[in-house]
């Protein structure tokens, strides 16, 4: 499988891993991967980005929607959104992406 760095670009569509459970609580979120038994705490921004990674939106669309939600220009958030999604991939939370070793 490719690494997050290799495939996550503006037209990539991120799909949550089948073993990942999510809980949204007061706009933050917790992801728990039953396969790796990893838990990840997401702040408000990361929780929104995760919720938009639904297997339909491209990374570019996630950026636009995130910018809209926080009322900021999309070019200001594009790189941050891409990095957050790459982090999800590096942590083994997305389908078809190899996690980083020891991540």
């Amino acid at each position: 499988m490719p690494s997050a760095d290799e495939v996550i670009v503006a037209d990539f569509v991120a799909v949550p891993g089948a073993s990942v459970l999510v809980s949204y609580l007061d706009n933050e979120a917790v992801l728990y991967d039953t396969a790796s038994q990893r838990s990840v705490l997401l702040n408000v921004t990361a929780a929104l980005i995760w919720s938009l990674c639904d297997g339909k939106n491209s990374v570019g669309e996630v950026s636009l929607l995130t910018a809209e939600a926080f009322a900021v220009p999309s070019e200001e958030v594009a790189r941050e959104v891409e990095n957050v999604i790459k982090n999800f991939g590096d942590l083994g939370l997305l389908q078809g992406i190899d996690p980083l070793p020891n991540s």
Partner: protein, 278 residues
């Protein structure tokens, strides 16, 4: 053969047998807060092997033959191994519940689960709380019924490590023939320290996550941070998966979570007291 009465450890019932009558007295004393078994108990047995002086520890299910748990345990480790065997089987009997790596103490406002990894001070706080006469539900394992948000009592003895005992005054005196079974870690029934034993489930008032720190503080946590910390301190999540995760989610949703930093057990007690009430 010497034997204890039957004990009910959550869904696991057992009695303890040995050819060493002092060891049976010690186990009886350690588990004295545990309710009587409500069914034919399984048998945990420790038999002295006279050639080595060590004990062979076996488990015999109420319906089944014996299996060896540990073939050779020296005197100073025998109570610790028995406690581990009971813990493990009690936890398995509630494996579909969120079970926390936690000490649980209670007062008029309800139960407070003090969660943390080994050496985080859980048992020392449990002992100090017991000495104040607070109710004691559990040390080390906190079984939560996520449907009712109540903690069920699991009155295993409080484990007092050598370092933790330094923080506590007026500990029970253990005669030498009892002490020989404990090594560095002592096991003492909470009621022997002064706690009120609890037989019924108690509503959970707070979950508290322990951290050592120079400055004592009790900080509220967000619901998501509480869930994340519950996940990290659950003993049943890894084996069960989603049902336990949803149970922990329900706890985080309805029960306030706090981070407790402390450097001395007295500071921890002062900060926990308002949560427990009384």
């Amino acid at each position: 053969m010497n034997t204890t009465r039957g004990f009910q450890a959550l869904g696991f019932s057992f009695r303890f047998e040995s050819n060493d009558s002092t060891l049976v007295e010690v186990i009886d004393r350690c588990y004295r807060d545990m309710p009587a078994s409500d069914r034919e108990p399984n048998v945990l047995r420790a038999m002295t092997q006279f050639d080595s002086g060590a004990y062979e520890i076996t488990f015999e299910a109420a319906s089944g033959g014996p299996e060896v748990c540990e073939p050779m345990v020296f005197t100073a480790g025998v109570v610790s191994v028995v406690a581990w065997e009971v813990n493990h089987r009690a936890e398995e009997s509630r494996s579909s519940w969120p079970v926390m790596h936690a000490t649980v103490t209670a007062g008029p406002r309800g139960a407070v689960a003090l969660c943390g990894q080994s050496h985080s001070g859980k048992s020392t706080i449990a002992a100090a709380a017991a000495q104040l006469g607070w109710q004691h539900l559990s040390d080390d394992l906190g079984p939560i019924d996520a449907a009712t948000l109540c903690v069920h009592p699991y009155a295993r003895p409080v484990m007092l490590r050598k370092g933790g005992r330094d923080y506590l005054d007026n500990l029970p005196v253990l005669a030498h023939d009892y002490r020989q079974f404990f090594g560095d870690d002592w096991f003492v029934a909470a009621s022997e320290l002064g706690a009120t034993a609890v037989l019924e489930p108690v509503p959970l008032a707070a979950v508290v996550f322990l951290e050592w720190g120079d400055v004592a503080s009790l900080e509220p946590m967000s619901k998501a941070a509480t869930l994340h910390a519950l996940v990290l301190n659950s003993t049943t999540l890894a084996s069960v998966g989603e049902p336990v995760f949803r149970g922990l989610e329900r706890v985080a949703e309805h029960v306030p979570g706090y981070c407790l930093r402390f450097g001395h057990v007295a500071e921890a007690i002062d900060l926990i007291q308002p949560l427990v009430g009384g």
